[in-house]
């Protein structure tokens, strides 16, 4: 802060301090599990996948200020592209890494392609159009049955391999490390963008589109880049999650609720902050796939929730808890758990 001399200026590091700490902590989880079996590294892999989706959405919503309500569509596109290009019931059979890369590219292309007609739309008009895309993509996946197998889902999908090491479903820790490495890589790359000309253009368009235009920045191009990056990362996340469960699931698994989940990850974590997004993924997805199941299990073991009454089953309070958490969060920490840009400098 407040340094003027050029000698003291250093370009931004590969990762911010907060990110280093966070990744350090994430790295520790499976290491601790080698000693005590907490059973959380396996479900945490989903958190990592969603964190990548969150980072992508953050580029669109946080960095560029475009309200996007259909990111799940791009997860679906990523998952299905990955599946069609790798699964043996199709002729392409690319293998994990080329498939993943292709999913990323196809997702980015789709993001740009679907984004093109929406560039002139303002805030909430854009929101409804992206929401519409979310629905359309789901319907397309359901209806184009010969290609997507309709609602059957495509399986099995290849597991990752890494220098001769293939991953099996009973080795969650190796997946965990690989996915964490991919997440770190994505964080670094997006952080590179954030601190470059591209990121500056995103921020400028978000802060004041007109002023940015008067600086010869073309908002359509900038928004398109953001949408493509966001969609590409969402597709990557979708493909990774699909590979994790070795199936694309049904098209219905990529519905509006997932888009909302991704949006909540970004906003609850701290909009505009990548550290925040990863924390958000930990909180939102973690609550879902780690905390609530463990809680439910404990309650059951204590003999609670075994009745047939709707009111006494803990599962039936999930919506309520989730909703309350969101409302209270916005009331008391509207900028999210990690407020943007606190991490910088």
């Amino acid at each position: 802060m407040g340094t003027t001399s050029r000698a003291t200026y250093k370009p931004a590091g590969l990762l911010s301090r907060g990110q280093c700490l966070l990744f350090g902590a994430l790295l520790l989880i499976p290491c601790i599990e080698l000693l005590f079996d907490l059973g959380i590294s396996a479900p945490t892999r989903f958190v990592l996948g969603f964190a990548i989706v969150g980072i992508g959405l953050n580029v669109v919503v946080g960095f560029t200020g475009l309200l996007h309500l259909g990111i799940a569509a791009f997860m679906a596109i990523g998952a299905y592209a990955f599946a069609i290009l790798t699964c043996t019931i199709y002729p392409f059979q690319l293998g994990f890494w080329p498939g993943l890369f292709a999913a990323l590219c196809i997702g980015a292309l789709a993001g740009a392609f679907l984004g093109a007609p929406t560039l002139r739309l303002r805030g909430d008009y854009l929101a409804i159009v992206t929401l519409g895309f979310g629905e359309i993509v789901q319907d397309l996946l359901k209806n184009l049955e010969p290609i997507t197998k309709g609602t059957q889902g495509i399986n099995p999908l290849p597991a990752p391999w890494f220098f001769g090491l293939t991953f099996a479903s009973d080795t969650p820790k190796s997946w965990y490390f690989l996915y964490l490495a991919i997440l770190i890589l994505c964080t670094i790359l997006v952080r590179n963008l954030e601190h470059s000309r591209v990121g500056r253009q995103w921020f400028a368009v978000r802060e004041d589109e007109l002023a940015a235009r008067c600086m010869a920045i073309r908002p359509d191009k900038v928004k398109l880049t953001a949408l493509a990056v966001g969609a590409g990362l969402a597709a990557l996340g979708g493909a990774l999650l699909a590979s994790l469960i070795s199936s694309t699931g049904e098209p219905g698994n990529y519905d509006f609720q997932i888009s909302i989940l991704a949006l909540c990850i970004v906003i609850v974590g701290g909009i505009g902050s990548m550290t925040g997004v990863i924390v958000g993924a930990l909180v939102m997805v973690g609550m879902n796939s780690i905390l609530l199941p463990i809680l439910g299990q404990k309650l059951q073991q204590a003999g609670i929730g075994t009745t047939t009454s709707v009111y006494l089953a803990p599962d039936n309070y999930k919506y309520l808890l989730f909703g309350l958490a969101l409302v209270l969060m916005m009331r008391f920490r509207p900028k999210g758990i990690v407020a943007a840009r606190e991490e910088d400098h």
């Binding site: 050029r6 290609i147 000309r197 253009q201 921020f203 002023a211 600086m215 920045i217 073309r218």
Partner: protein
Amino acid sequence: MSATPIIEVDSVSMRFGGLVAVSDVSLTVDGGSITAVIGPNGAGKTTLFNAITGVYDPSAGRVLIAGRETIVPLDARAWRSIFLYGIASAFLAAVFLNVEEIWLSAVTENYVYLKPFPWLEGVGDAGALVIAHGGWAALVGGVVGAAGRWAIWSRTRRTPEIVAESGVARTFQNIRLFPELSLAENVMVGMDRRMHAGFFASLFRLPNAALERQKAREEATRLIEFVGLGSSVDVRARNLPYGHQRRLEIARALASRPAVVLLDEPAAGMNPTETVELMELIRRIQGTGTTVVLIEHHMRVVMGISEKIAVLDHGEKIAQGTPTQIRNDPKCIEAYLGKEELG
């Protein structure tokens, strides 16, 4: 100092609903000069700036920058773009509206589980099907694509970014900085026009992008010093005091190395010392060869630095001339002081 006009405003009018904000104003700004536009509040000065910089499309008249009308014409290039969009969307429509049949004939029929795929046949079948069934879809898609491109073209013929590309930079009456960005980043946004780093260079921090960034940052630091804000390049813009924000805006505008810079009330809210510094700054800007056009109320500033003054009142240009001419023009005195003073 060359006397070739850099901005020519040719009988521009701006109407909003029942309001005529600017009516039939013509104005010429000579390259390298300092020109002031003055007039009472609401006289249409800012609207004129907006018309010049492409924020608003003039209801009538045109604006030439360096002798060229800064609009995207419906020329061969535009037609080509419309045509290409049409072709592309025709193709996409032909493929996507028949995608199920294409897939069936190209993939499903040719692929036997775990046997090698006959690529040539597959592609051939797909192509044949597109040609056979794509007609209507292609026609509709083509028309929609071309019409969409045309709609976008017609709505974006003259936009701020196109004007800015041609070397016009501006500041705003109600300061419009990027409040969450640091001073250096604000100025670097201004430099964007001159930067080349592409997406992938940025993504992977390729040496050329890093170098460009380094240089841009140094230049930004210099510019911030130039406008007198030397000590705070990494402070967020919204934390700056008002007067400093105005100067930062000027620095941002200068960062694009514009041929003309339009300053909208740069001295508003400044105290007398700051005002003097501002006049000094504007002279230095002129010294770098940049043409300056300013809207200003501080008569001391206007009379002190401008070479030419245009006076606007209720949307019309009522006078134009040197400071001395304006000072003695009865119409201007009337506009400012009220009618009674004339008697």
